[in-house]
């Protein structure tokens, strides 16, 4: 089976799962699609996803087990499609190849197209980031005096950068003098101008 979304060999269950999906009626299919996209847009909400499937199974007199494995297959195809940046058309082709009937394939790929910008934004957000800056706090003031100089009047700026390292956040504290601050500001403006040129 040649799919756009997945180049590896598919598990056996996938074909039969999609056949089973054909037996679901239109209204139920719409509901399932909604649940699926909600999860794809918020992949951290696993519990909620599971609960929604359980509720759905209860409402429509299905058993939860087969429903879960069915959704697993749909998820597999969807996640592969997202990785490969599939268009709505390509998604539709894949679904038809997998044996989904035309109505459902068209509906699903239409929803795919609608949600695609949000989905890819979410996927970009999950792209590997090294030492990502999560937050920055600052304060600045005047040094009034020190143990060496009774009356001073120099301006200082203190920055606290919160950097994500793996699962935890590391705090970096630093101090800048006024010239260093202006240099920092200037460099950041240059970086931003450079980034903006990519638009």
């Amino acid at each position: 089976m040649q799919l756009h979304s997945i180049k590896d060999v598919l598990p056996d269950s996938v074909s039969s799962d999609f056949q089973n999906l054909n037996r679901v009626n239109k209204q139920e299919f719409c509901h399932l699609t909604e649940i699926l996209f909600q999860f794809l847009l918020e992949p951290k909400e696993v519990k909620r996803f599971m609960q929604q499937l359980l509720d759905f199974a209860g409402e429509h007199g299905m058993s939860a087990g087969p429903l879960r494995s069915l959704m697993r297959s749909v998820l597999l195809v969807s996640q592969g499609a997202l990785k490969k940046n599939l268009t709505a058309e390509q998604m539709s082709e894949d679904l038809l190849t997998l044996g989904l009937n035309e109505d459902k394939a068209t509906y699903f790929s239409q929803k795919w197209g609608e949600h695609y910008p949000a989905l890819s934004k979410q996927a970009v957000g999950q792209t590997l980031k090294v030492n990502q800056l999560v937050d920055m706090e600052w304060k600045f003031g005047v040094t009034v005096g020190t143990s060496e100089v009774q009356k001073a009047g120099s301006i200082f700026l203190q920055l606290k950068l919160m950097v994500r390292r793996g699962n935890s956040t590391q705090n970096l504290y630093m101090e800048l003098t006024l010239p260093q601050f202006y240099h920092f500001l200037h460099e950041m403006e240059r970086a931003k101008a450079n980034m903006d040129s990519f638009n």
Partner: protein, 195 residues
């Protein structure tokens, strides 16, 4: 910590009268400011032909005097002359005052740049990358900024390095937020400067 200059200190300072040249006085004043050291004591004892114990006391008293002047920010000749007692040798007093006035600005800026502080930002380098692919998306076109900050800790821990480098990744949104914050700081600074 700047201590007061005592009568004993002035007694010790009179030892400067034994200096062979004015330059010798200048040298010992400047080096004492940094802090007492055995080497300095030995050199002074040799130059001035005085016992080591007296040399040590001399450098300590000079240190106390120069730090007192620095702490009080005495910048005019009159202010410094006023520190000396009446009986102090007049020309020596003028010479020491002159040396303290000459070095004052340099000492002040040096101490202000080495004061108690958080690690100081020494250097900043940045790079903008265009992410073209990732394991979660095979085609991406998202710019990202990497900033390398070099910081120097003025008081590093016993086994720690004084200079530390950290590289931080910023998304476009983070960079915007940072610039927003920095802009506000700049505005506030110009308000303060305007006052």
């Amino acid at each position: 910590m700047a201590a007061d200059v005592t009568t004993e200190d002035f007694t010790n300072l009179q030892l400067l009268l034994k200096a062979p040249t004015k330059d010798a006085v200048r040298d010992v004043c400047v080096q004492s400011h940094r802090g007492p050291s055995r080497q300095l004591t030995e050199t002074t004892a040799a130059t001035f032909s005085i016992p080591a114990a007296q040399a040590a006391q001399l450098t300590q008293s000079l240190h106390t005097l120069s730090h007192h002047v620095l702490f009080q920010n005495l910048t005019s000749p009159d202010q410094i002359l006023a520190v000396f007692p009446e009986y102090f040798h007049s020309s020596l007093k003028n010479l020491i005052t002159k040396i303290l006035l000459e070095n004052g600005p340099e000492w002040r800026s040096e101490v202000l740049s080495h004061q108690v502080s958080l690690p100081q930002l020494q250097d900043l380098d940045w790079r903008v990358d265009l992410v073209s692919s990732s394991d979660s998306l095979s085609r991406v076109a998202v710019p990202t900024c990497l900033v390398q900050l070099k910081m120097e800790d003025p008081c590093p821990s016993a086994d720690g390095d004084s200079v530390s480098t950290v590289t931080v990744e910023l998304s476009r949104e983070s960079l915007d937020t940072i610039l927003d914050g920095l802009g506000r700081i700049r505005d506030q600074l110009s308000v303060v400067a305007g006052k």
